[in-house]
């Protein structure tokens, strides 16, 4: 899902080998990425990487892709190791942040030499992790600071809204409240803290502001450039596991660039932790399970080899693999997740597809076959089939049809519509509960086209039914319209009559009042004593509302009552 740009040169520098574009296309697959696009810019080749896995933020940057490929190619094996040295830096977390944004975790990365490309990747990773993994910063927000401008210890505290600092990209101080209103990022992410009594603030021992998580860094410390050597990383959120993981993803990516990781002591009101924690995680799988589901005849050693190429440490024991995997991953819930890694390392395109031999017989749904037979019949009348949208709106279904919402017209239409709370457009804010308005809509868009226009549709009308699991039912209906000069009720009744004879049903028409139709030229279609449809000449005032200047007659029927179980 996350997409980002990487430079071929940068990737090759990280992997330590050059490849052709075609080779890169295949190599990307090891990192669960698709190479979406290739282009040249200022003499450099760039790739658009489309990372498939929303649970693998460690693969969302050039560093992550390069790392996975180095392992897959066997340049490195087993668990990646990162040295973490303890620093003497402490961060104190304010108790009052408990209901505001409770967790912050931190790290220092030293001795960096970031060129423009590396800097771009760092910013990209930070953004993508916060956006996708961090649910638009709600669950994870990341700040990276020039550590040389910061005087520890550092405080993550709840601040009054009137406190001030200069946000990134500004020249003057703004109050925290002003930042939410005036700064672009404040407007974008302000809703995450707006209603809280205090706003979160990260400050150093001299009171200098580093950032206002999860909104914006300060101009003073929050600007990282190619000159920056040492950075301080801050990750905040609501779930300690999640922020720890994001921190691990960011610091190990920087370590791939030659950075040296130093941990920080984080003091919470009721406990203390040292972050980042890069201790590998463990898991265990049955080798037979892997072999069986892979469908591949893999020896224990082969499985071990494949897993080592996916950055696992593997110990084989009693038909099981005891695994250690890197702390920047948190997606292994089940042996299946390990299985997928084995298959990716093996290469999906190296596996011979095999069609399963199953003694089964196919069968279509009988009611759908009945609908198809009705459609054949309608085509036989010379009618053009159309397929229209179910999404519509109340005005189209009632207002433009001269009907009153809330009144039942013997289910054609019923009194109420299924309506959408958060439609993309008011035009598509309900599911239709009868079909004739859809066909009138169609006619209204073709007034310039040659008449006669004779149409039908077999489609769904969605009705409320409180007794069902979804409180709704989508009934199959047949609707017909004839738009042509001198068309009358009789023309449409001829078709209805023929349909009924062909389906083997006796029917009656009962005179009825229905404001969509011309009085005296509208009927309720009754089969076995029940109203199953409506037929009539569309009222000229309805035609006028749709902008149709041609007489229209038509009918609409529920198909379910006309269905009989076939012998075959």
């Amino acid at each position: 899902m996350p997409k980002f740009d990487v430079s071929k040169r940068d990737l090759e520098r990280l992997v330590g080998k050059e490849f052709t574009v075609e080779e890169w296309e295949d190599l990307f697959l090891y990192a669960k990425c698709e190479l979406d696009d290739v282009w040249e810019e200022n003499g450099e080749i760039y790739f658009k990487a489309d990372s498939k896995d929303t649970n693998r933020p460690d693969l969302w940057s050039a560093e992550g892709i390069a790392r996975q490929i180095r392992w897959a190619l066997g340049f490195r094996r087993g668990l990646p190791e990162y040295e973490v040295e303890k620093s003497d830096v402490t961060v104190y977390v304010d108790e009052k942040l408990k209901d505001i944004r409770p967790y912050g975790v931190y790290a220092i990365v030293e001795c960096l030499k970031l060129d423009e490309e590396a800097l771009k990747q760092m910013i990209n990773l930070q953004e993508k992790v916060a956006l996708t993994f961090g649910r638009r910063r709600r669950e994870v927000a990341i700040g990276i600071f020039d550590f040389d401008k910061v005087k520890p210890p550092i405080y993550y505290r709840a601040a009054e809204k009137t406190e001030k600092f200069v946000p990134l990209g500004f020249e003057e101080e703004l109050t925290l409240e002003e930042i939410l209103e005036k700064h672009e990022k404040g407007r974008e992410y302000g809703h995450l803290i707006k209603d809280k009594p205090y706003y979160p603030l990260l400050v150093d021992s001299e009171g200098k502001v580093l950032s206002m998580p999860p909104i914006i860094n300060s101009e003073t410390t929050g600007r990282v450039t190619t000159e920056t050597r040492n950075v301080f990383v801050d990750v905040t959120g609501w779930d300690l596991n999640k922020v720890m993981l994001a921190l691990n993803v960011v610091v190990t990516a920087l370590a791939e660039r030659g950075g040296r990781i130093k941990s920080v002591k984080v003091v919470y009101p009721d406990f203390e932790i040292e972050t980042p924690n890069l201790t590998p995680k463990s898991f265990e799988v049955e080798l037979d399970y892997i072999r069986k589901l892979a469908g591949l005849d893999l020896s224990d050693g082969e499985i071990k080899d494949l897993l080592e190429r996916m950055m696992y440490d593997v110990t084989l024991e009693d038909g099981k693999a005891k695994l250690l995997y890197p702390a920047f991953r948190d997606d292994i819930m089940h042996a299946r997740d390990v299985l997928e890694d084995v298959l990716i390392a093996y290469g999906y395109n190296e596996i011979e597809p095999e069609e399963p031999k199953l003694a089964v017989q196919g069968r279509g749904d009988k009611f759908i076959e009945f609908e198809d037979a009705v459609r054949e019949l309608m085509v036989g009348f010379g009618l053009q089939e159309v397929m229209t949208f179910n999404l519509t709106n109340r005005e189209a279904q009632y207002g433009k049809m001269n009907l009153e919402y809330g009144r039942d017209y013997f289910n054609n239409p019923p009194a109420e519509l299924v309506e959408i709370e958060n439609p993309i457009s008011p035009k598509w804010s309900a599911l239709r509960n009868w079909l004739l308005p859809s066909l009138l809509d169609f006619l209204s868009q073709n007034t310039h086209e040659e008449y006669p226009q004779r149409l039908f549709e077999v489609g769904k009308a969605t009705l409320i039914d409180e007794s069902r699991e979804t409180k709704t039912v989508s009934e199959s209906k047949l609707a017909v319209v004839l738009a042509q000069p001198r068309v009358t009720f009789t023309d449409t009744k001829e078709i209805l009559d023929s349909v009924m004879r062909h389906l083997g049903f006796e029917y009656e028409l009962e005179e009825v009042e229905h404001p969509s139709f011309i009085p005296g030229r509208v009927g309720k279609v009754i089969v076995k004593g029940k109203a199953i449809g409506v037929i009539g000449e569309i009222h000229p005032s309805v035609l006028e509302k749709w902008g149709i200047e041609m007489p229209v007659a038509g009918f609409e029927l529920f198909l379910r009552p006309l269905y009989t179980e076939p012998y075959l």
């Binding site: 669960k32 199953l358 089964v360 196919g362 279509g364 759908i368 229209t388």
Partner: protein
């Protein structure tokens, strides 16, 4: 020599007349003028007749001339009144003359010397003269009579009476060039004519002709089979729907059982939760998932099933650690228009399946997208699953490849790792279409055990979906996805048949 019916008839009549004006020949044959002309030209080409053409200047009556021929020239009408009353005022002449005839009448009568004119009390008085009383037919009157009789008179003949320009000035006559056509039979024609056997020609074979057996005595007019015809439109199926019908039939042939459901509306439980998609998954956010205003929530299925799904999410099932959050039944009850066909697979698995078994559905699904050239607000999805004791990843690839071959006509396929919340491992397939190149054609995976165990299935289930929109667009020759649900009748009428 092959002669048409018209040619035969014309030749026979011409043989009687030997030489005739074209109009006479037309009359004699009783055919349309054009038909006779075509026949004459045909006969001439075959050396059976000869057409002579001579152009001549003629005079014809104008509309005014025709009127005068009927009611008389204005000066005669005025004179008649004068003869009755001796003298009249100019106003009196209105009884017999129209406004535009009134003005020049004084000049005319004076010129002929038929009346004297004087003023009395400021009024013009006309009084008849001797000459007026004795006046007789003049050349112009004879010319008018001649034209009235013959309609068209050669200029030469008129000029014997009166200069043509005089008739033009009075707007009685106009000059025209006419071509006089004379047709003559040749000796070859004379020789052939008696041997020609003539049958009646008909353009339509009528039931009467068949019943009476008269069809034996007629000839059928030859049609111009290359002439253009009216464009007509048959009743036919919507092309995209016909394409879906075809895929449906193919899937049934391939051994798949069709799944259906009673509503386009789904609970989040079946759309997401039963598929092990956590409640905080980004796809479940407000912007990516529709919610209903009315009705808001539906019901959850049987308690045991709900309990298993809840456990799978919260603590894990089947050796999984789960998502580790507190699962909300209220959230799962929320209703939405169904967002993917996989929801039906979940329902079917919970309901019970044949093992081994293959299942599919073609479902209308809804996503909060804007309608444009590349996005639809609702669309059709084709997906399903294959369930069986011994199924593995190679089978998954095999199923996908078969779809590519059967449905996309692909010769080559390529597999890419992919991610779906409810499958692991997951695959995306690209198929090499002869005209489109590599097309993303489908996705598949083995349903996660957390999901299948919760639904009560103990064996592997391969889930698959195929993306047929690009293929359909290619098949239907469109580059705007909205045409799949076309509201353009012209396009539907012209669309090629899908089979």
């Amino acid at each position: 020599m092959e002669l048409s019916y018209q040619e035969k008839l014309t030749l026979i009549k011409l043989n009687e007349l030997k030489r005739a004006k074209f109009e006479e020949l037309v009359k004699a044959t009783g055919l349309e003028q054009v038909a006779v002309m075509r026949a004459v030209l045909g006969l001439q080409a075959k050396g059976l007749a000869k057409l002579h053409e001579r152009s001549e200047k003629v005079v014809k009556l104008t509309e005014t001339g025709k009127k005068y021929a009927e009611i008389g020239l204005p000066e005669w009408r005025a004179l008649k009144l004068l003869r009755e009353r001796g003298k009249v005022t100019l106003d009196d002449l209105r009884e017999v003359l129209s406004d535009d005839e009134l003005k020049p009448i004084v000049g005319l009568l004076r010129k002929e010397g038929w009346a004297s004119v004087r003023k009395e009390d400021g009024k013009l008085i006309l009084e008849i003269t001797e000459k007026g009383l004795e006046a007789e037919e003049r050349p112009i009157d004879r010319a008018l009579k001649l034209l009235a009789e013959k309609n068209v008179v050669p200029v030469k003949e008129i000029e014997k009476l009166i200069p043509v320009k005089e008739l033009k000035r009075r707007k009685i006559g106009e000059e025209e060039t006419v071509t006089e056509r004379t047709v003559e039979i040749t000796p070859a024609g004379e020789e052939l004519a008696p041997k020609v056997e003539l049958k009646r020609e008909v353009s339509v074979l009528t039931p009467e002709l068949i019943k009476s057996g008269k069809w034996r005595e007629v000839e059928f007019r030859r049609f111009d089979i290359k002439a253009p015809v009216r464009r007509i439109y048959p009743g036919k199926k919507q092309p995209y729907r016909a394409f879906l019908d075809k895929i449906r039939r193919r899937l049934i042939e391939m051994g798949f059982i069709e799944m259906t459901v009673d509503s386009l509306i789904e609970t989040q439980f079946w759309n997401f939760d039963a598929l092990f998609q956590p409640q905080n998954h980004p796809a479940r956010e407000w912007t990516d998932t529709y919610q209903l205003k009315y009705p808001k929530s539906g019901f959850l299925p049987e308690e045991e099933l709900v309990e298993r799904v809840k456990t799978a999410h919260e603590r894990g099932l089947a050796g999984s650690r789960g998502w580790g959050y507190v699962w909300s039944p209220e959230r799962a009850m929320l209703l939405m228009p169904r967002a993917h066909g996989t929801a039906l697979s979940g329902r079917q698995l919970a309901k019970g399946v044949e093992i081994p078994g293959k299942y599919f559905t073609i479902q209308r699904v809804f996503r909060p997208d804007v309608l444009d050239r590349t996005h639809l607000i609702e669309f059709n999805q084709i997906d399903g699953f294959v369930v069986g004791e011994e199924l593995n990843f190679r089978h998954l690839l095999g199923i996908l490849k078969r779809f590519a071959v059967e449905i996309a006509g692909a010769k080559k396929v390529k597999f890419l790792p992919d991610y779906y919340p409810f499958t692991e491992p997951s695959v995306q397939m690209s198929a090499y279409h002869p005209e489109l190149g590599w097309v993303e054609f489908g996705g598949a995976g083995i349903f996660r055990e957390e999901m299948t165990k919760a639904l009560g299935i103990e064996v592997p289930v391969i889930a698959w979906g195929i993306g047929i929109d690009r293929l359909a667009m290619f098949k239907l020759g469109i580059d705007d996805i909205r045409y799949l649900f076309s509201y353009d009748l012209r396009w539907l009428r012209e669309a090629k048949l899908v089979w």
